[in-house]
């Protein structure tokens, strides 16, 4: 195709002798919108909350505002909070554990046993919890787990003499609800890790004499470790701070750091204490990650 002479002149001289931007400038131009927004929407509010955590009272009434460290002594002044924190960590651990087991095998099944349209459909079904309202999702579990709920109904239709297995308002019920809500993260991160494993690697292993469990333990699991780890981090952190599932499915036993903190903001109107508890939990979580950072790094670096 012959080039239009007028166009080619334009191409050669785009607005005179403009110099191209230096590389650092274009990098900055690309990053500024994202980091600017993050600063505005995440960092500044967090700083505000951090400042609040050193105040004696929420700075909104007429009460005089005084600087104090006393909010950070909550765990010493109110020792029952230690128990609550421990329960929250346990809840985070079990939720992450069940998500890891279920999510890994679900992702494995997706990658190795499905293809094309079937796989697309199943992946969309995995995302379904994300598209439903969280409150609806959690309340629907109360219908299933309560005494005489759908779970009991299903069991009684097979075995009419069975007692009730309804376990609503227990910690197990909370974990069930949390696993349901957070499982998609684990399935997706594991799926991404597993789908990149070339099938010939599995074939090579079996040609060398490996049975399926050796392939699972020595090949697939270590190679999918980055997905398992990033999924675990994605789940563990929000689960520790969750308050909706513990409150609705846990009832009286559903007291977690999440619910305690939420209470400070919505019921007790003690924002400084809520903020201090939040930052304490953040420190604990960062401490846990720092302790296992060696393992995490080894797992993610192939």
């Amino acid at each position: 195709m012959p080039l239009d002479p007028a166009n080619s002149t334009q191409l050669r001289e785009p607005g005179g002798s403009r110099k191209p931007l230096p590389p650092w400038a274009s990098t900055a131009a690309l990053l500024v919108p994202t980091y600017g927004w993050l600063t505005l929407a995440v960092f500044l509010p967090l700083c505000t909350m951090f400042a609040f955590s050193f105040l004696t009272a929420t700075p909104m009434g007429k009460a005089p505002i005084v600087f104090t460290f006393k909010q950070y002594r909550a765990f010493i002044d109110q020792p029952y909070l230690l128990g609550v924190a421990w329960q929250s960590l346990l809840m985070g651990f079990w939720t992450t554990f069940f998500c890891a087991v279920l999510g890994f095998f679900a992702a494995l099944a997706l990658v190795r046993a499905t293809e094309g349209k079937v796989r697309e459909t199943l992946l969309i079904l995995v995302l379904l919890p994300f598209w439903t309202n969280g409150l609806v999702r959690v309340f629907s579990w109360t219908m299933v787990l309560r005494e005489g709920g759908f779970l009991d109904y299903a069991i009684h239709s097979v075995w009419p003499g069975a007692g009730s297995v309804g376990f609503l308002y227990t910690r197990q019920a909370v974990v069930v609800g949390l696993v349901h809500g957070y499982l998609p993260y684990m399935i997706l991160t594991c799926y991404i890790a597993l789908v990149t494993i070339d099938n010939t690697i599995v074939e090579a292993a079996s040609s060398l004499g490996a049975r399926w469990w050796t392939i699972l333990w020595k090949i697939l699991l270590p190679m999918a470790a980055p997905g398992l780890i990033s999924g675990s981090v994605l789940i563990f952190v929000p689960v520790i701070g969750s308050f909706m599932e513990p409150r609705i499915l846990g009832g009286r036993v559903g007291v977690t750091m999440g619910t305690v903190i939420e209470d400070q903001f919505t019921q007790a109107f003690n924002w400084p204490l809520g903020a201090a508890l939040s930052f304490t939990m953040l420190a604990v979580v960062l401490g846990i990650f720092a302790t296992f950072s060696g393992v995490l790094r080894r797992g993610t670096a192939l």
Partner: protein
């Protein structure tokens, strides 16, 4: 002694036949190439021998045992893939030791055998590296070491060199022959590269649309191709078609080409193949030296491609076009328009079977 034996293998994908009635033997310690274009079924045949594909019909035997329904892990094979397929999370040592551990060989014994295997592929001292710290050629050597360290009954190579660049590929071909001879493993090698197949193998099997059209030593399949496909796939060929007469065929223009091989019944139609490098050009205008090649036709040079050591000519002859490879040894290359005489021996005039 036969080591691997396939009998009446057939495989369809849906209604599409991929392999049709394949039967052949692989001798102990031999190097056999499965050569064919993509879609010829060569890889499917290899994967049936490996056990990744179960054939619809027929049997596979390794070392005298029927393994047709035996899972891959139980077959004691060694396999090298085009994509290397090294375990990226393991070191070279761990990769090579993987198959040994599956056979219960651990500790000091395993370490010794791994070391020996890495020496065989000329990579001693690379054991602690991760695969991605190695070049493509080195990775393929590790894959080879991993496949042979377990002393498999058969070594299966699925286009192992095609991901390497030309120079490295030639280097690895030499290495592969050495390693195969030293280890004495029965080797089956899938390739679409005809030169590679001729260079490496004791035997070449040419596959076309799910059938073995010819199997034999490299010289045999190259010099005496049985069918038009075999002749065409394994290098360049000129074809001549005519009516069979005593001792040769008569072409449409009335000239006779002598054939030094059994021909079909007199009067029937037959096609013969002549390799371009077997033809000698005699320059009619310049006299040129006579040769004792008794097949001669006069032709006009229609194109000439110069490639340093050799030249490729095309010569027109009675509506046919002949390809000729000539060493660059003439005083002066022929030019387009030269009237020449093409001569070749009846021995190099190979009658082909009629197309199936």
């Amino acid at each position: 002694m036969t080591n691997v034996e396939v009998r009446s293998i057939a495989k369809n994908y849906g209604s599409v036949p991929v392999l049709t009635d394949i039967s052949t033997d692989f001798t102990q310690g031999s190097f056999t190439s499965l050569l064919g274009p993509s879609g010829s079924g060569k890889t499917t045949l290899l994967r049936i021998i490996a056990g990744f594909i179960i054939p619809d019909q027929g049997n596979v035997a390794i070392g005298g045992n029927d393994v047709t329904r035996m899972p891959v892990w139980a077959r004691n094979i060694g396999m090298v893939f085009q994509s290397y397929a090294l375990f990226p999370h393991m070191t070279v040592n761990e990769n090579v030791a993987f198959g040994l551990a599956r056979r219960g060989i651990k500790g000091e014994e395993s370490r010794k055998q791994v070391e020996r295997a890495l020496e065989l592929v000329r990579l001693p001292g690379f054991g602690d590296r991760k695969p991605k710290q190695l070049s493509g050629g080195q990775q393929q050597r590790v894959a080879l070491a991993r496949a042979i360290v377990t002393k498999p009954s058969v070594l299966l190579l699925d286009e192992p060199l095609s991901a390497l660049d030309r120079r490295l590929r030639q280097e690895m071909q030499v290495e592969l022959i050495r390693i195969q001879k030293e280890s004495g493993l029965t080797t089956i090698f899938v390739t679409h590269d005809q030169e590679e197949a001729l260079t490496l193998s004791d035997k070449v099997a040419i596959l076309d649309r799910g059938r073995i059209v010819q199997i034999g030593a490299p010289t045999e399949v190259y010099e005496r191709p049985k069918t038009r496909f075999a002749a065409e796939f394994l290098g360049d060929t000129n074809f001549l078609t005519g009516t069979v007469v005593a001792g040769g065929i008569r072409l449409a223009n009335g000239s006779t080409v002598a054939v030094d091989a059994p021909l079909p019944a007199t009067g029937s139609e037959a096609t013969v193949a002549v390799r371009p490098e077997k033809i000698v050009i005699r320059d009619v205008a310049r006299g040129g030296k006579d040769t004792d090649r008794s097949n001669r036709v006069s032709a006009t040079i229609s194109s000439s491609v110069y490639a340093g050591t050799a030249l490729t000519y095309e010569a027109a002859f009675d509506g046919l076009s002949f390809k000729i490879f000539a060493q660059n040894s003439d005083a002066r290359p022929h030019s387009v328009g030269d009237v020449v005489e093409l001569t070749w021996s009846p021995l190099h005039t190979v009658p082909l079977e009629a197309a199936a």
